[in-house]
Structure formats: C-alpha cells, structure tokens
Symmetry: C2
Subunit: 371 residues, 2 copies
C-alpha cells in the first residue's frame, strides 16, 4: 500500500478525475497547487488559500533549508504547523534550482550558492530526502537534474542518467531512513527533454523504482508548446494509472487543459501569482494588462464572471491605482484573483471530465488563449 | 444641526465615551483610525479593516490628488466605493505634508513637489476643500500649517496666523461651494506648538469659525510627551463638548490613554502599521522586537492574550521568518496584529470610561510602556 493511491472516478479520453488518498486524508484531481516558495504564497496567507479552495500547497526545499533552516521548521512543528495550513503540502527538492541557479553538479550531488548570503550549500539525493523529512510535507520530491531547453543530446542524456541514479539513491534512502515522517510520500521525476526515446527510458527507469507518484520535470523550460505536449503524450502512458502524475511548472490555461487531456493530475506554477503582482490578469475573455492606462477610470471588476473576493468588491481602477503606486495590497488582491481563476479552471476541467465534455472546454480555452 | 454632533454616554474625569452621529451613520468614541494613505492601509484591504473593527479610516489628500488624481477617485464613485469601505472615512488635507515635505508656503497656500514625478502642485485652503470634496470622505480637514518642533516663537506665531486665516477661507468656501458632497463634515485644526497661550488663542479662533469637529495638530512632531500633554490640557477645554476632538498623529499606548483621559475622542497614526512592517510588535507585556534572533525558534503567538487572526494561527518563529526574507505576507499579518492591539486598547479605554475605571487602565499602560 503506497501513501498516495489514486481513485479514478471518471475518465474522458486519457483525462481522469478522482481522488488521491494520502496519510493525511485526500485531495481531488486534477488539482492546481499554489507555490509558497518560502513558506507563504507571496502576499497571501493560509487562510486565503483555504478560501480559494486550494488543496495542495508547494514549498521550496532550497529556500527553506537556507532560511529559516529545515531544523527550524522542524522545531516549529513542521511545514503544516509552521505555515498554519491544514491541507496538503509538497516540497520541491531543489532540482528546479539546478535549472535556474546553475550550480556545480557532479555525480554525488549539487553545490549551490546561497541567494541570501553567498554561502555554499551541498544537496545530495540523500540529504534532500532528510531535509524534506525535516520540513515534513505530505509529499517530497527526489533531487533531479533539470536541463534548460534547448539542450544537446549529451546534456539531456547526462540529466537522465544522473536523475535515474539519484532517484535510486533517494528511494533507497527514504525507505531505510528511520527518522522519515510517517506516511510521507516520495515522488520520482521523469526527465528527457523533448526526446521521445529518452522520455520513455526515463519514465521506465523511474517507474521501476516504485515511487508513490510521478512528476514530469524538465518541461515548460523554453521549448515550444507542441514539443511539450508531444513529450507528455509519450511519457504519461508509461506511468502507472494508480499513482498521481504531476507536471511541474505549468499553470497557463492552455497548458493546464491540454496536459489534463493527456492524463496529468496535478500542476504547480508561480505564473498566476507572479503575473498578478505585475498586473497581468487572467479573465474569462483572456489576459488583461492592468497597467494599461485605459483601466485608470475603469469601474468594472477584473472579470465580471468571477466569483472571487477581489472581483466582488474592487474595481480595475482601484486595483490599477494600488498597483501603480506599489501598494502590497495590490499584489495580494491580484494574486487572489489569478489563483481563483486558475483553480477555477482546473475545477471546470474536473467537472468536464465527469461529464465527458473536456473537448468542449479545450476548444473554449484555445479560442480565448490561443493554442 | 452639524454633520457630526457628539452624543456623550459616559464620562470619567475629562474623558468621555459615546457616539458621533454623521450623515453616513455613526461611529463610537474614543476611536483609533487606521491610516490608508494611498487608499489602502499598507498590505491590508477593506475587509481586513472590517474584521478588525475599525470604524473610521483615513486617506491622504496630497497622495490621492497626485495618484490617481481626485477626479479619478470621484469618477470611480468616491473614496468609499473606490476602496470598498462602507465605514467612515476622513481625508487629511495635506497639512501634515507641510511639516514632512518642506514645501514653499505663502499666504495664499502651499507649493508642493510631487514625490511621484517631481511636478509642482499647488494647494490652497479653497482647492483643498474642493479636492477633498471630490474624494468624498465623510470628514474633510482644513489645510493648515504644521510647524516642526522645536520652533521659534515667530514660526509658531506664523503657523497659527496662517492656519487661522486659511481655516476662515476653508470654512467660507466649504459653505458656499455648491458641489460639496451632501453631509460632508469639515474639521478645523488647532495649532500653536507647545506654547499654552498660542494654543488657547488658536483654539478660540478656530472654534469661532464653527467647525463640525476640531483637530489638535502640530503635536507628536518632536516635542517631549509632557509638553504634548500640557498643550492638550490647555486646548481641549477650549473646544465645544458637542463636537468631536481629534488628536492628529498619535497612536502609541501611553499617548492614547493619556490623551483620552484629557478628553480627546479620535486618533490616527501610522506607527502601529509601519512598526509592524519592521517587526516592532505591540503586546500586553510591551514591545517585542521580532527581528531579534531569540524569536527564530519561538513557537508562541505574538501575544498570548490577543484574539486577532494572526495570533490565532501563526507563531513568532513563522512571522519572523517571513519578515526576515521580506515576504509581504509578514507586513500584512504584523499590521493586523498591531492594529488589533491598538484598536483593542482604545476599546478597553472606552469600556473603562463607562465603568469609571480609566485611571486603572492608565496606571496599567504606564507600568507596561513607561510614561
């Protein structure tokens, strides 16, 4: 019995809706997971995330191990108690920072430079397991190597080899490590860039290790969307149907519904909140650039069809004003709206799968957002 | 019938508790008014202020006339609709910026430099009335001259003369200006530094003009507390008992209870929120410096006796972490706590007046916070 078996209650083509059962309880799939990098979604708190209907929230191992330190989080009761969040949590291993911070990588692990004080900090597959054990999320991720695309075949091959080797080490360490939090799930990560053969190989080698769930990493890192979807199309069928499938770093409307159609269950992305803080607003009729002067005297809500607390109370004109004078209140209210939109879209996809109407939603999203 | 008569329901010495009746409805006194300089209390929204029990919220005329412009606020329905706030509002005239921004002042008015783009902008007693009319708060303030203390007798005399002259012009203009929002109250402002004779003179000249309420300005701008309280003690008795009395810029615990004891009804101050954003936390046992390393692993709430939403859910350790990594969530949660403390203290003062026990509260506050 794994920590995260999937109960599928409806399918529509390759898409599926259902429930993931965990040691903590359960969460519905498909699901969008807001990103609380340093232990909070920027400008929001856990009560906001509850009100938004979020069920799983991410935190970042690299950042939390540096500030305040994984031992400090553990001493304060672990991630749930620390952040005051009673839903599910997932910690990213630091693998994405292998992509974004260009650390020194060797066979043993990764040597990072701290963004806070320049100190060097080492992360290995084993120490990532233990650090995430201290953080105490419901789901932890293996340390992987995420190549920036486009990449040479040699770089992709090396990323797949190291990821497979590290996954085996993480799996073994997670099983034998006695201090592992009870019921904490460990997800493997498939790499392979946009090379179909490498994707299939990476998927099979990862599945052979028997993880509680499977992430598809190394996509949405610079490649065209068709290449991303083609990679998903060859990868997902290799993954066992009784485990969650998590596409890392995707959260745009088209990416979400197309990946859901290919059988992906869960997603994370900073774009809805980061975009919101910069005035890029997601609406039923497409993207709205709130910094545009046309909205200075605009009394309409961000999205007349939206039921979020921001749209219920404040106008584009007010929100634009707060944004233009750098009031933190703007970051909060715009993040709430964009998360409501994104979580709402995934909720609609779940409903569409249950009714066998996902294609209708895909066409609607493509018509609004392009393909 | 003025727009803001006071109904006194209890007194304790010079202190009074009761209700101010306005065209909008009523608010209880004594009251602490959070400051939403640019149309939002920094990092908070109007729903937060409702939850905190705030009854009157300030906004700043100087800032709003520059960004987004008073006509824009008017076009978006005025300050209440703009900010989504159904309680009372008060706009500061820009007089405090005469103190803080050192503009060019002549008999006609003030020539400011915009903090946003360096443009010059003129404010006169009459234009301040009209600008605040466009903003549409329940209470507007006359344009006054606020001298920085210590000041020479000549500077203080000049500030009193200009303030009196401008008050007369504002009063006349507010009466005859046909576009004035119905029921909008106009408060005069007493100046005079810490010179008792000047304070009495300024109070009498202001009261002669028959305002809807009276502010005491030019205090808490550098003078010792005993000098501030002595100035209040000579000023308040000059003010009519049927009008609200507003001490501008005071919001520390001792300042609040001592001024309430001298008969002041309402207060505004940025210190609780600004201090909160910098980790200066108000608690029942005194000030707590959250940046202190001793709180890194501190699982206690900010204040075990506090009923605010921050103390109900998050630890000092979590809030300190968010503060140290500059997460806007920290600014919000710490501002909520410090406002809950400050509003709660004024609520306690109101209750103490009703029971005739204000002296007990004054002794308790002095014992905790010094005198």
């Amino acid at each position: 019995m794994t920590a995260t078996p999937v109960e599928v209650t409806a399918t529509d083509g390759a898409a599926r809706a259902g429930t993931v059962h965990t040691a903590r309880g359960s969460y519905r799939i498909p699901t969008f997971m807001p990103v609380g990098t340093r232990g909070a979604v920027k400008a929001l708190d856990s009560a906001d995330l509850e009100a938004l209907g979020a069920e799983v929230v991410l935190a970042n191992t690299y950042h939390l191990m540096l500030r305040p330190g994984a031992d400090v989080v553990a001493g304060l009761g672990g991630l749930h108690r620390f952040t005051g969040w009673t839903g599910h949590t997932l910690t990213d291993s630091g693998g994405f920072q292998v992509h974004s911070l260009s650390p020194v990588v060797d066979d043993d692990g990764v040597l990072f430079t701290s963004v806070y004080d320049g100190a060097t900090v080492r992360l290995t597959p084993e120490s990532a397991v233990e650090t995430q054990g201290l953080l105490g999320a419901d789901i932890q991720m293996v340390l992987d190597v995420c190549a920036t695309l486009p990449a040479t075949p040699e770089v992709l091959r090396s990323a797949v080899e190291r990821t497979a080797d590290w996954a085996a080490r993480a799996r073994a360490h997670h099983r034998r490590w006695e201090a592992r939090p009870e019921g904490q799930a460990l997800f493997g990560i498939v790499q392979g860039g946009t090379d179909p053969a490498l994707r299939v190989e990476s998927a099979r080698r990862t599945v052979d290790l028997d993880f509680d769930g499977y992430a598809i990493g190394g996509l949405s890192v610079g490649e065209p969307r068709p290449a991303m979807l083609a990679s998903l199309a060859v990868t997902v069928p290799e993954l066992p149907s009784d485990r969650p499938r998590y596409l890392m770093g995707v959260g745009d409307p088209v990416g979400l519904v197309e990946a859901i159609a290919l059988g992906v269950d869960q997603f994370d992305c900073v774009a809805p909140t980061r975009g919101g803080r910069h005035g890029s607003v997601l609406t039923a009729t497409g993207r709205l650039s709130l910094r545009n002067a046309v909205h200075a005297r605009d009394d309409a809500p961000l999205d007349a069809t939206c039921a979020c607390t921001t749209c219920a109370r404040w106008s584009r004109g007010y929100l634009r004003h707060l944004l233009m004078v750098n009031e933190p209140t703007a970051w909060r209210l715009l993040s709430i709206h964009n998360l409501a939109f994104t979580i709402g879209l995934v909720d609609r996809a779940r409903g569409a799968i249950e009714r066998g109407e996902l294609d209708t939603l895909r066409r609607e999203v493509a018509a609004t957002w392009g393909s």
